[in-house]
Amino acid sequence: MKYNLTIIGAGIAGLTAAAKAYASGLERVLLIEHQPVIGGFTRGYIETSFFETEQRLLSECAALPYTIMTRSTVVGFFTGDGDTPHQLFVQTPTETEEIQTDYILIASGAMEKPREAWRISGGRPAGVMTPAMAVELSQRGYRLDEGKTMIYMADRRSHGAAEYLADRLGETIQVSAEDFDIEHIHGTAQLEGVTIRSVITGEAERVNCSRLLFAKGRYGSTFFLKGLPVERDESTLCIITDRFGATGIPRVYAAGSCTQLGDDGHTSSIEMASEVADHLLAKI
């Protein structure tokens, strides 16, 4: 089957675009999603008060009649010339599928930049994780309530995680990214403490804890573009687009936090994706 539009990523941006496509009457639309469910990388926080708009979008999209391939990941593609379709390679639970499509919208989102990206000195103990990982673990029933947890409050995601995990963590201490830097990680097998430094007074303080939820900034989840001509920012891996989502490759667009126009808190994905979708749908 050949599609008019293939949307890579059924997260907030991808679903926004899919809803627009449906409203405009487009029929042959495919969504490809790495996760087992739609909702994207903010899925875990979506039931919290910080993500009410996204929650609404998700329930609206539940009834979309388009095919959604879940647990499926794009591993690469060949771009078509002139009128020939693009060819996508998708790894599914059972095979590597080939998909022909006229247009591609990359809406593959962004992942949280972990401790390792920030050259924070110290040991490499267990217990240091991103808010998203903590939420995923908790959803699987793993317990995070033993000992004290420090949450580094950097953006909307850490706030969402803090709210979601509120009664699943033991004692917690919230450290605002505006006031403190994480300076050193103590512990060999298990986290024992974190040294934080006040950006205001310059004073350092060790806080003993057995878990640290940390992330700051984001990486475009665009790994499948490695070696492909779609231009990306070297340090954030975000796709470079114009304001209508055009990537420089004909009929390949990108929207949401996987682009350089997105923001770390994923706050503008809906608006951006709507604008890109309008522009794109006008062409199809």
């Binding site: 949280e112 267990a126 217990g127 990982m133 097998a189």
Partner: protein, 561 residues
């Protein structure tokens, strides 16, 4: 070669197997090898041996065994004598211990390796410069130089047989001043000659041509063509896997707590931390930083080990060097160097900092600064490189100043392979050879195993897309199938670091934060479906080291009530 798939009868798989099976009678030789697998490795590994079929039943009480080789059209009975006394137990699963157990697995003996952590290569062997040294700078006449010399001859074959990723890039020791040049000509050239290592002094032009990023203030350098780079984890894992395929038993999560010589001196009793006992004729102490503690268990205080930290920076930037670039060493360390990495990128470091804690491998801002400072002298532009990872390793500095490869003065049944400071990776095959020689001079009967496996088969090999399953690690495109293959191959480990080092999953930008929950799902269903134990029998998932819990056991506390 005769290949057999072992089908273990339900009864046998459930009951505990005798520790060692000796067989006599018709076809005994073939059976001895087959049964060795049964006695020595877990049933799941036996199932992988392949192709044709052998089924057998072990009646636990009577200790008789009935064997049935279908393919060979042979039916017969074999008498079994159960003997739970091992010939050799190797303590420590670093590169030294695994090299030894590989070498011993080529003999008809019952051998075992016990490692405290839940995988091989969790100690010094995992964090080092990854250089296979020639020993050009080793002290002539030392045990170290002898081990390095032997290893030089052994590596080419090992690299091929174990498919070790290896980069024969050579090294260059740069002369930054006339004094350093004089030191190279007057000390290092004759020293290399005494050790039988070929070296060659090159002038500035050649130095810069091969390594354009090197400072042009240097006068020239000493090229040591024979030095190269490998993947230390690969080496350690491959040594252990080969040993396991040859029937050695490898036990993780088995820290040695006490060693008790038998009253009649006929054997040693090794007591593990969980209280279980292993009886063995000989033991080899390859416990790295902790080898003095093992010696202490037989009241041997002939050497003391202290840790010396080395911090590293790994960069993925492209540097203009084609060789390992070394400074002229100072008295306390080989100095801070820059070297290519087998899988791409460059390694900068290490520092040399004495400390007390034997597990503290933390990095510090001062250490990172020291690395950059050191490398800057060789490669002036280095500060503009972006780092991707930082880590540290601990050298085992020995009070005797040389390797200790000899029977303990307090117990001839404990052989030390200890005090291995800065070249243990390079010298491990030679160390193993010396240990084999020491054991051959004892009362052990060591006949060569005629059907020994010398080459590592492709255990994690590629397979078709259908059996790959969905992508689990997004950053590195690692599939469910690749993870399951790593879990089912010999020497599997059920810690996340174990999976990481076998598959490359979790090594991308998200450093596992995105895929660890999914990986836990895969491991969960895999271990449950195969009835396998989790690392250390722990229900809570482990990152790597013992007690490195990722999170509490799923639903844990409620279940206890």
């Amino acid at each position: 070669m005769f290949k057999v798939k072992l089908m273990i009868h339900k009864e046998a798989a459930q009951g505990s197997l005798p520790e060692r099976l000796l067989c006599y009678g018709d076809k005994a030789k073939t059976f001895r090898r087959l049964l060795h697998y049964v006695g020595a490795v877990t049933p799941i590994h036996c199932l992988m041996i392949d192709k044709t079929k052998l089924s057998f039943i072990i009646k636990k009480q009577t200790k008789t065994i009935k064997c049935n080789i279908k393919q060979n059209q042979w039916n017969g009975k074999v008498n079994i004598v159960v003997d739970s006394l091992r010939d050799v137990v190797v303590i420590g699963g670093g590169v030294v211990g695994t090299a030894i157990v590989r070498a011993l697995s080529l003999y008809n003996m019952s051998i075992m390796l016990v490692e405290k952590q839940h995988d091989v290569c969790e100690g010094t062997s995992k964090a080092n410069s990854a250089i296979i040294h020639t020993g050009f700078d080793a002290k002539p006449g030392s045990v170290e130089s002898d081990c390095l010399r032997r290893s030089r001859e052994l590596w080419p074959e090992l690299i091929g047989a174990l498919k070790i990723p290896f980069l024969p890039c050579g090294a260059v020791m740069v002369a930054a001043s006339e004094t350093e040049k004089a030191k190279i000509i007057e000390h290092y050239v004759p020293n290399a000659e005494a050790n039988g290592v070929e070296v060659r002094y090159i002038e500035k032009e050649e130095l810069l041509e091969m390594n354009p990023d090197v400072s042009e203030h240097n006068l020239g350098g000493l090229v040591i063509e024979g030095e190269g780079i490998c993947d230390p984890f690969w080496v350690t894992r491959a040594f252990a896997q080969l040993a396991e395929l040859n029937g050695a038993e490898i036990r993780f999560g088995s820290g040695v707590e006490r060693i008790e010589p038998a009253d009649d001196d006929s054997h040693l009793v090794i007591v593990l931390e969980d209280g279980s006992e292993i009886r063995t004729r000989y033991a080899v102490n390859a416990a790295g930083l902790w080898s003095d503690e093992i010696a202490d268990m037989v009241k041997d205080e002939s050497f003391v080990i202290t840790p010396r930290k080395g911090q590293f920076i790994l960069t993925e930037d492209t540097l203009g060097i084609s060789q390992i670039v070394l400074p002229v060493p100072s008295p306390s360390s080989k100095g801070i160097l820059a070297a290519p990495v087998v899988f791409g990128g460059f390694l900068l470091g290490p520092t040399a900092e004495d400390q007390e804690d034997k597990w503290d491998r933390s990095t510090t801002d001062d250490g990172m600064e020291a690395v950059l400072n050191g490398v800057e002298k060789l490669l002036p532009g280095i500060r503009s490189a972006t780092t991707i990872r930082q880590f540290a390793g601990l050298r085992a500095v020995c009070s005797t100043g040389d390797f200790v490869i000899s029977p303990s003065p307090r117990s001839h049944r404990l052989i030390h392979a200890a005090g291995i400071r800065s070249t243990g990776l390079s010298s491990s095959p030679g160390i193993a050879e010396r240990v084999v020689e020491l054991l051959r001079s004892t009362d052990l009967i060591m006949t060569e195993r005629s059907e020994a496996i010398l080459e590592l088969p492709d255990l994690l090999g590629e397979s078709d897309a259908a059996s790959n399953g969905e992508i689990i690690c997004l950053c590195r495109s690692i599939t469910r199938g690749e993870i399951e293959r790593a879990l089912s191959a010999p020497l599997s480990s059920t810690t996340l670091d174990g999976i990481k080092r076998r598959t490359g999953a979790m090594l991308g930008e998200c450093q596992g934060n995105g895929c660890i929950p999914k990986l836990l799902d895969v491991m969960e269903s895999f271990t449950a479906s195969r009835g396998l134990a989790k690392a250390g029998g722990e229900e809570a998932p482990l990152k790597g080291l013992r007690e490195s819990y990722i999170a509490g056991q799923a639903g844990g506390r409620d279940n206890e009530i």
